[in-house]
């Protein structure tokens, strides 16, 4: 029954998450990498509050800490200092197992390098996102097909990623990131190296997802992408500041 409930649960059912309760709350988060003798402060005193259904873009020069920020937000890494509340829960001191479960069930990633499995079909690549989360097999396949249809790849289900164009790979990554119905979607450079028509299609897709109640954080160098976002924050040498857009 639990499976069935989960299967029926759709994006639109997540609408209530769009109210003002914060999905993400960072207070004074620091992240320091120890690289041999050198200490790299990738994040300094970062404060950020993102409400459900928000669409936030993160801009900043290369090496400024954007990917590091996403790693913290995505529970892939732990902050060296400060507090992170995800969906109201302090996740700083959750066990490794709980963080893994939370990540797998509530957060979707579109990585800078896609990370598609080269020897699996497009469909299988999308299904991997539901492998560890108690989804029944038939549901997995159906949702994966739906998700691929949604990004316009219905005709590429049985291809290997190596046979796809860059934009198509990107869309497979997006289909995979959204198929398990996360509440937070983290995208690192989702339109890098894409022509403007393809970027436009992907941005349209993001709008749709956001309308479905997904909270969206997009790292980008691209003016066009950040222009679509409701909020834009910029990073500089590990520090984060919000640009005021006057509304």
């Amino acid at each position: 029954m639990a499976h069935l409930k989960k299967a029926i649960w759709s994006w639109s059912a997540m609408q209530p998450a769009r109210d003002a309760s914060p999905v993400v709350e960072l207070s004074s988060v620091d992240l320091t990498y120890q690289s041999g003798e050198v200490e790299v402060r990738a994040l300094r005193d970062v404060k950020l509050r993102i409400n459900g259904g928000d669409y936030l873009s993160v801009v900043g020069p290369s090496g400024s800490g954007k990917s590091s920020l996403l790693n913290i937000l995505g529970l892939l890494d732990r902050p060296s200092g400060g507090e992170y509340r995800f969906e109201g829960r302090d996740v700083s001191d959750l066990s490794e197992g709980d963080r893994t479960a939370l990540r797998g069930q509530r957060i979707g990633f579109v990585f800078q390098e896609f990370h598609l499995l080269p020897n699996r079909t497009v469909l299988e690549n999308v299904m991997v996102a539901m492998l560890y989360n108690r989804w029944p097999r038939p549901t997995r396949e159906r949702l994966a097909r739906d998700s691929l249809e949604r990004v316009g790849l219905g005709h590429r289900m049985d291809f290997r990623p190596g046979k796809l164009s860059g934009g198509e790979r990107q869309r497979v990554a997006i289909a995979r990131a959204t198929v398990a119905r996360p509440s937070l979607l983290l995208c690192d450079e989702p339109t890098g190296n894409l022509d403007s028509a393809t970027s436009e299609a992907i941005l349209g897709l993001f709008e749709e997802l956001r309308d479905d109640g997904l909270t969206l954080i997009v790292v980008t160098h691209d003016e066009q992408v950040s222009a679509h976002a409701r909020r834009t924050v910029s990073m500089w040498d590990g520090s984060l500041s919000e640009e005021d857009r006057g509304g």
Partner: protein
């Protein structure tokens, strides 16, 4: 929203299908990796099978006749021909038939007739030779059964003949032919030198002591009285199956309780011992060989699994990002390595069995294999793979998701 989270989970079926996909992603490499285990398991199975088959062959080649014969003879010293160091008693037959496991026993001895020739009466072929140099042997009543003799006609002598020192004789087939005796119902008489004997039977066949077939055989008591025979020289014992070793150890004591060591006892080699020896010889050598190839196979699997962990760091990071716990990552690589070991085990077992069959066929042996071998061998292959996968799997599971994602770009 602080309710306990459902933990990450991976069903066995999904685990196996992910691992299988991993193995088939690089079929060529997987096949080559499996080869080491194939050789190791194949060598083990072939060894066990051939040893068993050869051992069985040895048992088969031991016929029941040889396995139930024990011969005791009085040792005539190092150069032979001298007087025996110890005499076999006249009642050897009685002493031995009392032992448990003895079916029949009988004693015998060569009787020295000097230059006496043997002839039969009447002489019915005046042109042919009528006198022959024929050996004479003394025998106890029980010898007939102990050598498993067959009479074509007449009878064997009994205790009475021996006690009364009757001048009766049984002719061996060869002796009877020379002397032209074919029937005994007319009580034919033969002469050895000047001594006459009534022929009471013709021995056409014996399974043991074939020299009897060319001899004139007289009762021991007769030989004692007429030729001063001192003692029997040889005792033939027919034992029950499986009792030969035991009887061999008891016979000398029964015949010469004081100095059993002076009697020479010939017993059949224990086929069970022989079989074990052969099996152990073959086994020791090739099991080591098989073990070494298996070890090499395991190192191969460990190596390739480690390489594939390093190649798939990005995949590991991705799986961790979508909710795979460390144990799921470890399990996947363990199942992959175990799968390789199992595949190697199955192929190796098949090849091993094939080798046993082919070797047996070329020697016209019956192939024999313990039934547990074809079951245990693939299991051993799987265990090899499992053990080989432990280190790479732990390496994979220890990776931090961030590091894996960054390194595996």
């Amino acid at each position: 929203m602080d309710d306990p989270l459902p933990r990450s989970r991976l069903s066995v079926r999904d685990l196996v299908s992910e691992a299988t996909a991993g193995l088939f992603a690089r079929p060529g490499r997987t096949l080559l990796t499996v080869l080491g285990t194939v050789l190791g398991i194949g060598a083990l199975v072939a060894t066990l099978g051939i040893a068993k088959t050869a051992g069985n062959q040895i048992i088969g080649s031991f016929n029941e006749l040889a396995a139930t014969s024990v011969v005791v003879s009085s040792d005539r010293g190092f150069f032979g021909g001298e007087a025996p160091r110890i005499a076999i008693p006249w009642d050897a037959e009685d002493r031995l038939t009392r032992l448990n496991g003895v079916i029949a026993a009988g004693s015998m001895a060569n009787v020295s007739v000097g230059a006496d020739l043997t002839r039969s009466v009447p002489i019915n072929d005046p042109l042919g030779q009528t006198e022959f140099q024929i050996s004479m042997m003394a025998a106890s009543p029980g010898l007939y059964a102990a050598v498993r003799g067959t009479l074509s006609t007449g009878r064997w002598f009994d205790v009475g003949h021996s006690q009364r020192a009757d001048r009766v004789a049984v002719l061996g087939r060869g002796a009877a032919q020379k002397l032209n005796v074919v029937r005994v119902d007319q009580q034919p008489v033969i002469f050895v030198g000047e001594v006459s004997f009534v022929v009471i039977g013709i021995l056409v066949n014996v399974d043991r002591q074939p020299e009897l077939l060319n001899a004139v055989i007289i009762p021991e008591g007769t030989a004692q009285a007429l030729y001063d025979l001192e003692s029997p020289e040889t005792v033939q014992i027919d034992t029950e199956i499986g009792a030969a070793s035991l009887i061999a150890s008891q016979a000398a004591i029964a015949l010469a309780p004081g100095e059993p060591g002076l009697l020479r006892v010939q017993k059949p080699p224990d086929p069970e011992d022989l079989r074990r020896d052969v099996e152990e010889d073959v086994n020791a050598l090739f099991l080591i060989l098989g073990g070494v190839s298996l070890l090499v196979g395991a190192i191969g699997i460990a190596n390739v699994t480690l390489v594939s962990v390093l190649e798939r760091i990005g995949e590991i990071g991705l799986r961790r990002a979508v909710g795979a716990a460390r144990r799921h990552i470890a399990a996947q690589f363990l199942v992959e390595s175990t799968g390789m070991g199992l595949a190697g085990g199955i192929i190796g077992t098949s090849l091993g069995v094939l080798v046993v069959v082919i070797v047996s066929a070329t020697r016209t042996w019956t192939p024999v294999l313990d039934p547990w071998v074809p079951l245990a061998a693939p299991t051993l292959g799987a265990v090899t793979g499992l053990v080989a996968g432990v280190y790479p799997a732990l390496r994979a599971a220890r990776l931090e998701p961030v590091d894996a994602l960054r390194a595996g770009g």
